[in-house]
């Protein structure tokens, strides 16, 4: 639908949060917890972190939780009874105050999970999400959304977007039918936009550092450039921090937890950075060294996904770089690849 543009007083945010909470008990927002900023269910406006760049973890956990039970079963006298968890009743969930790079991250996740055959768990959870994002008015040295097709005011994936503008006011963009229904809850607080607002002027400045098409071409061409991958990943210690905080990493592991009588099948986050990820039962590991795993990480995001799913598997949020124990700054590595 055509976006509806409104203006709201920043001071009204607390009232909006109250109204949302009244209608949607599962209201998630960024909450400061010591060094972390986490997306959590809030009770009111005062719970929301005041000054945050983005949440430590991405929002993917709301549609793709780190532990998802996909099957229950019981074993009785040789009889196996299976039961799939009910996916029709996931509660409606509002994500309030997430960033544009998180909202647009669902593009990749949806392409992966709902590609050929929709994944009922992802699909059902995602359908219940109402996404109210806040455009970024600041960025840090890790941000590079503008280099991968995004921008600090990108509305893709959001139902409503707020942008702080002058005079303690916020620009409100109502972007979808879902967003319109939610905005009706606080329509009395919205006023019409008398004159056009130059949204761009209020956004963070995130310079474009590389041409993503060059990255796509060059990663695809560089599969056999062993020294490139070894040099880039020499300091990589092979943990999964990057993949687990990433808004688009979707690889998972299936594990059964059971006793003699019953069990559950779980879908768990996994990471291509782990040596176990590709270890065969025979003992052979086709990605036997870390450089091959690092290559896989970049090839998947910048070669296989663009080719097969027509999306780039990166939103430029920089979480992987911030979380990396050894400062593997992906922006630098992508720039190096673009300049090959």
């Amino acid at each position: 639908m055509e976006p509806i543009i409104k203006i709201i007083k920043s001071a009204s945010l607390a009232t909006i949060v109250d109204k949302l909470k009244g209608r949607y008990p599962r209201l998630y927002a960024p909450v400061k917890k010591q060094e972390l900023v986490e997306l959590e269910v809030i009770n009111g406006f005062n719970d929301i972190a005041q000054d945050y760049l983005l949440t430590t973890q991405s929002v993917k956990k709301l549609a793709f939780p780190r532990v998802e039970k996909i099957l229950d079963y019981t074993l009785q006298k040789g009889n196996i009874q299976q039961q799939s968890p009910d996916t029709s009743n996931f509660p409606e969930t509002v994500l309030f105050g997430i960033r544009p790079c998180d909202a647009s991250g669902f593009r990749s996740l949806t392409a992966i999970f709902n590609g050929d055959k929709p994944d009922e768990f992802y699909k059902s959870r995602y359908e219940k999400l109402i996404i109210i994002s806040f455009a970024c008015n600041k960025a840090d040295a890790y941000c590079f959304c503008t280099s991968v097709g995004g921008n600090p005011g990108n509305t893709e994936g959001s139902d409503i977007q707020f942008t702080p503008v002058d005079n303690d006011e916020m620009l409100v963009e109502i972007l979808t039918e879902k967003g319109k229904a939610v905005a009706d809850l606080f329509s009395d607080l919205l006023s019409d936009c008398d004159k056009p607002v130059d949204k761009q002027a209020y956004l963070a400045n995130v310079p474009v550092v590389f041409d993503v098409n060059k990255v796509i071409d060059n990663t695809t061409k560089s599969f056999n450039n062993e020294m490139l991958w070894i040099n880039q990943s020499l300091r990589c210690i092979g943990c999964g921090a990057c993949a687990f905080v990433c808004p688009t990493c979707a690889c998972f592991d299936i594990q059964d937890e059971q006793n003699m009588k019953q069990g559950a099948r779980l879908r768990l986050w996994d990471s291509c950075g782990f040596s176990l990820f590709t270890l065969h039962t025979s003992g052979h590991n086709p990605r036997h060294i870390q450089s091959h795993r690092w290559r896989q990480r970049l090839m998947h995001k910048f070669s296989y996904m663009p080719e097969q799913l027509k999306v780039v598997g990166c939103e430029g949020c920089g979480r992987c770089s911030r979380a990396c124990p050894v400062d593997m700054n992906i922006k630098e590595h992508l720039l190096q690849i673009a300049e090959l």
Partner: protein, 267 residues
């Protein structure tokens, strides 16, 4: 300090005394990152200042690093202790790794275990006061309070295994967390899976932890994991008279029988 280090590494690389040097470099926004130097020109990127406290000993066993040839390393006190502990576990050999370290503002270099041991013996290895304070606080708690404290911390864990990857002593090719015949530790990052993982890791590091604190420093969820392993240092020291990483030929306290071992645990 950086200049002295750079000149030394340049010389070592030109003399072919080493093929690759692991040191501290400038990272993003003032962070410190490990850098790998193979040519005298690249040595210019090395830095050393009061923020360079990280140990890079966990790279000594990485296949791509080993494949580069003879390794030199800027070694903090913890990195040297990690080397001694790795040696005692037969993971590195005498004269295999050239360690550069600061001794009273003098840059020394040695690959000789005896020399490194002598230097370590002259240093203080106590854990830092604020860390000890935290451990004392935990030990003063009731069992329930301590349980609650750790459950809240484990809840944050996303099982990225950065703690394991950063730990110089977590080098097992086949980690117990990855065994599935039988499955000792639940793979899932749920309450039980997280707790089992951290307790198992702490037990495997009892008497082996060289208190570098890397596990806690790298945790993206800021869990103070070092307190788990640090808490096991004092009991081992009291019962067996040793802390890890001081001797290249030390025997592991928990798997070695000595006639003078205390037997007061036998009822």
């Amino acid at each position: 300090m950086s200049d002295i280090l750079i000149n030394k590494v340049k010389q070592l690389l030109s003399d072919k005394a080493i093929d690759i040097f692991i040191g501290h470099g400038e990272g993003t926004g003032g962070r410190i990152r490990p850098i790998f130097v193979r040519t005298p020109e690249d040595a210019e990127q090395l830095i050393f200042n009061e923020n360079c406290k990280q140990s890079w000993a966990n790279y000594l066993l990485k296949p791509e690093v080993k494949a580069a040839g003879k390794i030199g390393m800027m070694a903090t006190k913890h990195a040297l202790r990690a080397m001694m502990q790795l040696a005692s576990e037969f993971q590195i050999k005498d004269n295999e790794v050239l360690a550069l370290y600061w001794d009273n503002n003098e840059l020394k270099s040695s690959a000789d275990f005896k020399e490194i041991e002598a230097y370590l013996a002259s240093q203080n290895h106590d854990i830092l006061p604020h860390e000890q304070e935290m451990i004392d606080k935990l030990n003063a708690m009731t069992t329930q309070e301590r349980w609650d404290f750790w459950q809240k911390e484990y809840e944050k864990c996303i099982k990225c295994y950065a703690c394991r990857s950063a730990c110089p002593m977590c080098y097992c090719h086949h980690c117990a967390a990855e065994g599935n015949q039988p499955q000792w530790i639940p793979v899932a990052s749920h309450q039980l899976g997280n707790m089992d993982w951290h307790l198992m890791r702490a037990m495997h590091l009892s008497g082996r932890c060289i208190n570098c604190g890397a596990c806690a420093k790298v945790c993206p969820m800021h869990i103070p994991l070092n307190l788990l392993t640090y808490n096991l240092i004092t009991p081992i020291q009291q019962e067996f008279g040793a802390i890890a990483g001081m001797k290249h030929d030390a025997t592991y306290a928990l798997s070695t029988f000595k006639t003078e071992d205390k037997e007061n645990f036998i009822l």
